[in-house]
Symmetry: D2
Subunit: 106 residues, 4 copies
């Protein structure tokens, strides 16, 4: 089975090509669209007292699920435009974070 | 080989657990952290004339790569806290988008 | 006539008090709400080729005007909660920016 | 004394003109810069348990004050580019909000 991130890269490419949307999909525009989707996600949490999952209303879960999907789809497209391997970049960043924030001694 | 999104879910869980950071990682706080990382990404593009990849300075590519990684890592963590399968959610969203924006007739 | 920022501070205070909304209006929640409104503003510009005002559709101006108002109203409320005089802070920031970015020699 | 918002409009105009920055200041770019500043503000709050002002560390107040100033300065510049009177727009929005969210009966 194809890797999930590679699969989404192929699917978003085909989706944009079929609609002739590549002309709008500069990295800048995609980054702006990403920030809009992230705000739509954040909106579900903005007035919660602490933000724990249990404070969400029942009906919000499905909406949040779709916002998370939108964020991922734009992220995959920006990475694709800039020839970034998201998984490799994330592994590298985890290593850098592990150096920056070493775990406490046991 | 493990799927990339599943792999990152495991790694971010272990990373947070080793540092006792789960107490800070409410979905709300992670959504806020996600929006901060997306802005750090957007900052690279804000003054570009059109935002095409060719307008970026050479040194920006590595920094952008790390910002994309940060966005993905927070996204994976929010999805994990809310028991959302990101790949399944993205596939579903692509199908909904295909209905909402049908491709033009050939 | 009252100063515009002072006027809005009084009006937002009265508005929140009449609805018993102060309990939700922590600086953190207001900052999150501010970021959501800014994204609603940004959404109008995300697919424009360069983003000059002339590229906007006619009907967008009124919607943008309301988004700008929303941004200002949340900004005024955060500043109020944190006892920040927005005008004085902005004057100070302009002075700091003038040192950081000196104008070119004539 | 000049009104605070009118004063900042004049000052930001002069500042940009002296540096020949108008070429970068499309409404789109300013909206993107605004979203970046809002995220820098939000960053101060992202890991707080509830986000009340008392949870902030002492040294954060001055930094937050400057972020609030940055947000206001970009907001004033976008409004200026789009010929929006921010105070008038905010008054109108408060009236619309009062209809949308009527205060509870006493």
């Amino acid at each position: 089975m194809r890797d999930s991130l590679a699969d989404l890269r192929e699917r978003t490419r085909a989706f944009a090509a079929a609609r002739d949307w590549e002309q709008y999909h500069t990295p800048k525009n995609l980054a702006m669209a990403l920030s809009v989707e992230v705000a739509e996600l954040a909106e579900h949490f903005q007035w919660l007292p602490t933000g724990r999952a249990g404070e969400l209303a029942g009906g919000q879960h499905e909406a949040i699920r779709h916002e998370l999907a939108d964020v991922l789809l734009y992220l995959v497209q920006i990475a694709d435009k800039l020839d970034v391997d998201l998984h490799a970049a994330a592994l590298e960043k985890i290593q850098l974070n592990a150096i920056k924030y070493p775990p406490p001694e046991p």
